[in-house]
């Protein structure tokens, strides 16, 4: 019987989280979608993506017309250039909007003093955090999905398969999730929304441009010439490799590189994007793909690892955020629980006396010393010492 109770309770907990998420999500989306703002942003977003696509297409067309290369593959080249440009733009938009839309999630509740109201409802911290994240992500998702028609333009040029578009979108969603979770974590960690927004921006710049710069610097310091991979031997121990080549993990949080890897899969020769990926992964470059045609690193050799790293990190950050939001279940990392409990050393002397005052308050104070000044002097020895001379 206890087992069934336990099971029911566990399912009940899952349902409760669902209800709570729905409550928070509905509330957030109501605010987000109210008025014209959401539609204005959506329109601007689409105009930006479409205008950018048109400009890239014009550039690529001119380059293809004047440059060398057979006209047979010129259209595909335009398609690929367009695809890479649009995915980069969407990645950039996601990187900016995802943390921005979660940066105030928790800190605004703190600033507006509404978190207490939420915390006294049975809604769990997990439901609060997930509800906020899902509502923020659904907004980014809307922007990303709305851009699909523009991205589909690449099919008229060729060079890109629908699976490549699918890969790009999977990475975009993962990017939104990860950077949304980062924004949420910072929002739960930092008290002010303004600070959270700045920290988020710095985090985004560091995880993309910063890590790339460190990677290039590291490569330079190892004495390697640029991106030409240094062939590792199987017997190498991992630490020794680091002296010759920076770790690939450094770039895992750079969604641009993941998109470059997808791009690499569309190249027929050993093109520029494959060269970059190979430089980062430091694997064999002379591999042939399944059809035995392509020349470059194996397809999908890098981005799934990057994706996994991002998603695992996001999950960890969500758990941490839940802990930060919860008023009572917060992990106490700074000091052990015992130390937080006041030890009786200073206690008993005045505590007992004060308890005596508590039970017989008016009589004790009054029968002998009705006037307030005298009450003060009579109560004083029995009560806690004043701030200046307190027990230490």
């Amino acid at each position: 019987m206890t087992a069934t109770m336990g099971t029911r309770r566990r399912f009940g907990a899952v349902r409760d989280v669902g209800t709570g998420m729905a409550a928070v999500g509905v509330k957030e989306l109501r605010g987000r979608m109210r008025g014209k703002r959401a539609f204005v942003i959506l329109t601007i977003h689409l105009l930006l993506v479409a205008g950018f696509a048109w400009m890239i297409e014009s550039i690529a067309e001119r380059t293809a017309a004047t440059g060398f290369g057979s006209s047979f593959s010129a259209s595909a080249e335009i398609g690929r250039a367009l695809f890479l440009a649009i995915t980069f733009l969407l990645t950039l938009i996601t990187l900016i909007l995802a943390p921005a839309s979660t940066a105030g999630a928790i800190s605004l509740e703190r600033e507006k003093q509404t978190l207490d109201l939420l915390a006294t409802t049975p809604i769990s911290s997990l439901a609060i955090v997930l509800g906020k994240l899902v509502s923020a992500l659904s907004w980014i998702l809307l922007l990303l999905l709305a851009s699909i028609p523009v991205v589909s333009l690449v099919f008229t040029f060729g060079g890109i398969a629908p699976e490549d578009v699918l890969r790009a979108y999977v990475i975009l969603f993962a990017t939104a999730f990860t950077f949304g979770a980062i924004g949420l974590f910072v929002s739960a960690l930092v008290k002010r929304t303004q600070a959270a927004t700045v920290i988020n921006l710095v985090a985004v710049i560091f995880l993309t441009a910063g890590t790339a710069f460190i990677f290039v610097f590291w490569t330079a310091m190892t004495g390697n010439s640029g991106f030409l991979p240094d062939q590792p031997t199987r017997e190498d121990n991992p630490v020794a490799t680091l002296t010759r080549h920076p770790p690939e993990a450094l770039m895992w949080f750079n969604p641009f590189l993941a998109q470059v890897d997808v791009m690499c899969g569309t190249e027929t020769g050993f093109g520029a994007s494959c060269q970059v990926v190979a430089g980062v992964t430091n694997r064999e470059v002379d591999a042939f793909d399944a059809s035995g045609q392509a020349f470059g690193p194996p397809r999908d050799s890098y981005w799934p690892r990057s994706l996994l790293a991002m998603i695992v990190t996001a999950a960890i950050l969500i758990v941490l955020s839940v802990q930060l939001v919860s008023p009572t279940r917060r992990w106490r990392l700074r000091r052990p629980r015992r130390a937080a409990v006041p030890e009786p050393a200073a206690g008993p002397a005045w505590a007992d006396a004060a308890a005596a005052v508590a039970t017989e308050p008016v009589h004790g104070a009054h029968v002998e010393h009705p006037a307030s000044t005298e009450t003060a002097s009579s109560v004083d020895p029995a009560s806690p010492p004043p701030p200046a001379g307190g027990p230490s």
Partner: protein, 329 residues
């Protein structure tokens, strides 16, 4: 009557500040219970422990039989809490605000709609249903916040300084509202450092200072005990010597414990008798030839009690020593 809120030996320390130092509380069902104390006495900390926002370092509290330590979620389901300073969401209409909290309690949609209407009627915000929350006046926001504590029909309401920042009219309305809620069977805990408002409202009070309950009981009971000792103030006409003579005369009278001259020339008498006694004292004073210009019992009863019980330090000053109260070195 059975007790519905019971706290035993609550201790809460913030870093070096002992905010609540072994506090016991016992509130019977159906009462409007006042927590009175100066700023920093530990009222808010106590209410936050009761509302499961803080875990006590020691001790435990039970609300309707559920422990705030072991079953905080059961506590939350029977409890409505209104913090002393609360915010309202931007971009939210009045009905959406209540709808949101009702969803948090998992109340099904069909019941939500009806309940929101009823609640808005109760707190007199019916016509404001579609108004944005931030557009409401302070008093209205207060009532809306009170309404949000009622969405799940709780047994116990914890209201931290509900009347602060309200104009007198809004205060009267709030008081009426609380009485109405009591008639609906709710037990209400109200904290305040303004005594008169509690005196009229509460059935019982606990006086808190430095994180401990100094006195607790029915208002009438505490008042009765209080009659035993009172402070009288009188103005005696004449020169300084006359006033000093009058002071000395008062000391010799029955039931007078102290008598001293205040800086403004009034004589303050620590008096040990009841109202009849003070009438007699006045008659004697006049009979003894003192030129009594005024003669009165000072302050409201609860306030006086409050001052006396908490006067190990000067009465509540505008600048308390620390937010948490007493700082042990």
């Amino acid at each position: 009557m059975t007790s519905i809120v019971r706290a035993t030996g609550l201790v809460k320390r913030y870093d070096r500040t002992l905010a609540v130092a072994g506090l016991d509380l016992d509130v019977a069902e159906g009462e409007i219970f006042g927590l009175v104390g100066p700023n920093g006495a530990g009222k808010t900390t106590t209410l936050r422990i009761l509302s499961t926002l803080l875990v006590p370092d020691r001790g435990d509290a039970e609300i309707a039989g559920a422990s705030v330590r072991r079953n905080p979620n059961d506590v939350r389901r029977v409890l409505g809490f209104m913090p002393d300073s609360f915010g309202v969401y931007d971009d939210m209409k009045v009905w959406e605000y209540l709808d949101f909290f009702a969803r948090c309690y998992g109340i099904p949609a069909d019941r939500r709609r009806r309940m929101i209407g009823d609640l808005l009627e109760l707190v007199d915000l019916g016509p404001k249903r579609d108004v944005y929350v931030q557009g409401l006046s302070r008093g209205m926001q207060q009532r809306l916040c009170l309404a949000h504590t009622l969405v799940h029909d709780p047994l116990v309401l914890l209201l931290d300084e509900p009347a602060s920042g309200l104009d007198p009219r809004a205060r009267v309305e709030l008081r009426e509202l609380l009485r109405e809620l009591r008639s609906l069977g709710k037990t209400i805990l109200v904290s305040s450092h303004i005594l008169p408002e509690l005196e009229e409202l509460c059935t019982s009070v606990a006086i808190i200072d430095r994180g401990q309950v100094l006195a607790q009981g029915r208002v009438a009971e505490i008042e009765k005990r209080l009659r035993v000792g009172a402070v009288l103030r009188t103005r005696i006409l004449g020169e300084r010597e006359d006033v000093e003579a009058a002071r000395d005369w008062f000391v010799g009278q029955p039931d007078v414990v102290t008598s001293e001259i205040l800086p403004d020339g009034l004589i303050e008498i620590g008096f040990h008798g009841d109202d009849d006694g003070s009438a007699l004292l006045l008659a004697h004073a006049v009979g003894a030839g003192l030129r009594v210009a005024s003669f009165a019992r000072v302050a409201s009863d609860l306030e006086e009690l409050f001052l006396q019980v908490t006067s190990a330090e000067p009465p509540p000053s505008p600048a308390p020593p620390a937010p948490g109260g007493w700082v042990p070195a």
